[in-house]
């Protein structure tokens, strides 16, 4: 395995064969090409960053990184963008395990419970953060809390991205759903929501509300878990014990969605891209969606409005997740490089006014007080959703892009369309959660 893979003159048959062997040996030893490329940066103190932002988000993130590069002298950043979803977390876990991890990476805080306990992440040094001007009081308490594990900070939140209600103001006006201020009249009961959807449906001639859930791996869970939190329903999920939720309240939520999803108030059989097309083309006038679709909606609909998830069951709450910067485990620690990493993370937080343009609510509160942010509509109309976010239960198998969300969504989707009774769906949810609570934790 010690053969030099480069050919020397004179090239003999044997040296070529040895070259093949040497090259193969390098591959077999696990030294990937990506691994080799980290060494020059290590010498120069460069910071490698991984994110999962594509499309409009990706453009904005690269712009922010460029801005930080110019504002912090001598900072060298090498950003790598990977595809969103479970493959991203597969790669992040593997890189942390092998010690070839980037210095910082984006992670959904909902995945923290699966990463921090297993030692795949390193906690932040609060003093170093404070040196960069990042303190606890700069964040909403619920969001800051979600980044903690066993009293230590494992993630610095960049944004909160809630699941909200977008509406087409022109269609809503025709349907008589707007108040005197030109915004949606608050919807405060399940019946009012159904009524609003039906009136919108009368205007569009089809369904009033879009909701893409068919064969989707997260949407039904987002809708359910946010509304369930509004009921104030308790739950308990801890490893090794049977899970429990408040059956009556869960049933109430499922029954409401079944009533809403009558094809008139809300479309019954839309998938994710179909729901977006229906809303942007005016076939529907409202959509339950993550705020990350804002750029696509704003490009198609001139008068776009948005509100946090309407409070239908008493307590204001919107399902949400948060993109946060984490520090994957490193084999070697270079204080200079660590300081550079903190500089980058802090710099990116201070650039998150740009990030808000893509629809996300900046987690770093000083940004929310800037006049630039105040001028952003409809972002400011739903910014309050960042104050009462509902995150996934803090168990190792939950979070964005997990099999947990996929399974929950498939069961709930079946219940919403009437394939399963609400009680059968609740049984199925609980039995699946129980199986995961009993399964060995691979992290």
């Amino acid at each position: 395995m010690g053969h030099d893979p480069t050919f020397r003159t004179p090239v003999s048959r044997r040296s070529i064969l040895q070259g093949f062997l040497g090259a193969g040996g390098l591959l077999a030893a696990g030294g990937s090409l990506a691994g080799c490329s980290t060494s020059p940066a290590a010498a120069g103190g460069g910071v490698q960053l991984w994110d999962l932002f594509q499309g409009a988000d990706g453009v904005k993130m690269r712009g922010m990184i460029d801005a930080v590069r110019t504002s912090v002298s001598g900072l060298s950043v090498r950003p790598v963008t990977l595809a969103w979803g479970s493959p991203y977390y597969t790669k992040l876990a593997m890189s942390s395990a092998s010690g070839k991890a980037p210095q910082t990476a984006i992670m959904h805080v909902s995945r923290l419970a699966g990463y921090a306990p297993g030692g795949l992440l390193e906690p932040y040094d609060l003093d170093l953060l404070a040196e960069q001007g990042i303190r606890e009081e700069d964040f909403a308490p619920a969001v800051w809390e979600s980044c903690q594990y066993e009293g230590q900070l494992y993630a610095v939140p960049l944004d909160t991205h809630p699941f909200i209600l977008f509406y087409n103001k022109d269609l809503a006006k025709t349907a008589g759903l707007l108040g005197p201020d030109g915004n949606l009249t608050p919807i405060e009961t399940p019946d009012a929501m159904i009524d609003a959807g039906t009136r919108m449906g009368d205007v569009t001639g089809g369904a009033g509300i879009s909701f893409g859930h068919v064969v989707d791996t997260g949407q039904s869970w987002r809708l359910f878990w946010g509304l369930y939190a509004q009921t104030g329903g308790d739950y308990s999920m801890s490893v090794g014990e049977p899970a429990s939720i408040d059956r009556d309240k869960a049933r109430e939520v499922i029954e409401f969605v079944v009533r809403l999803m009558d094809g008139k108030a809300m479309a019954a059989t839309q998938n994710y891209p179909g729901a977006i097309s229906a809303f942007t083309s005016g076939q529907t006038g409202m959509i339950f969606s993550g705020e990350w679709e804002l750029p696509a909606f704003a490009a198609a609909i001139p008068n776009l409005g948005a509100v946090p998830m309407p409070t239908l069951f008493g307590t204001p709450a919107s399902y949400a997740d948060s993109h946060a910067w984490v520090l994957p485990r490193q084999l070697e620690h270079d204080p200079e490089r660590t300081r550079r990493t903190y500089e980058l993370v802090a710099g990116l937080l201070k650039q998150s006014g740009t990030w808000a343009g893509a629809g996300h609510i900046p987690a770093y509160l000083p940004i929310q007080d800037t006049p630039e942010y105040a001028a952003l509509t409809p972002q400011t109309e739903y910014a309050s959703a960042g104050e009462n976010p509902v995150f996934d239960p803090p168990v190792w198998f939950a979070g964005a892009g997990t099999e947990f969300q996929n399974q929950m969504s498939q069961v709930l989707s079946g219940a919403f369309t009437g394939d399963l009774t609400p009680d059968a769906a609740i049984d199925s949810l609980l039995s699946r959660i129980d199986a995961m609570l009993l399964a060995p934790n691979p992290t």
């Binding site: 876990a93 089809g206 064969v215 059989t269 498939q410 394939d419």
Partner: protein, 321 residues
Amino acid sequence: MSSLTSSNEAQAPVAASGASSAPPSRSRTKSARERSIQGRSGFWFVLPFAAAFAMFLIWPILSGLWMSFTNQSLTGKGSEFAGFGNYSEALGDAALWQALGNTVIFTLLTVVPLVVLSFILAYLVYIGLPGQWLWRLSFFAPYLLPVSVAVAIWQWMFQPDFGLFNGLLLRAGFAQIPFLSEASLAMFSVVVVTVWWTLGFNFLLYLSALNNIPDHLYEAASIDGAGPWRRLFSITIPMINRTTVMIIMLQVLASLKVFEQIFLLTNGGPNGSTRSVLQYIYDVGFTGYRLGYASAISYLFFALIIIISIVQLRVMNRKSA
């Protein structure tokens, strides 16, 4: 006695050297030294492939087998021996049995049309539909598409409200068909996409087999008064028997290994009704990080495929013999 043996001994080397010096016989029998040189140079030529083969096939297979006896995680933990725990867990795993059932149903539903339909299409082209090249192109073209393109096309056609099929149904005043959202229909939709997408390969195999049937067989049969149906059943189908056997065997294996189009079209949904075994292995290993358990499932499935292949080989050999 002694003179006889000595003359024999004396003759033998002469005969041997005479034989080895004669040019014609030299090419037939080689000395031990020559053979060993040839063998060694052969070894060097085979080495690059053998090294890659060992590294990328043999070693992963063995290390996968070892992994299946551990609780190896993607994050590097759990590499100690864990006995048959994974295998016993697999046998009681309802999701695995569901995935296995889905895979078997998919295989049954795809193999039949992919054999029968491709033969019918090839036969129609063979007996002379006008514009043969156009048919040949249009039956084979889908096979050239990458799976992502084939799936994207069908995804939009299956779309509710404004997809091709549902759009037409709505305009004609009928109810929509939830192609991908209903458990009972989703597998059917996956089968339709698969048949459309992969039919072309079998079609091509059949077409070349049909073109290889000697014309004189048909001529002789016509002279004997055989009609078109008799010629089809007594000449065409028996003559392409070997191709049929090969197509069925390849098709069964390909269908058991289904992954891409299901992953892209339904991601195994709704409610696990289209998840194949391979996708389950992917979900467990790469989304769920449980490489040890995923390896155990792979080995169980591997054993199953070997059994099916042996049974198939036996049955098919008997049939074609």
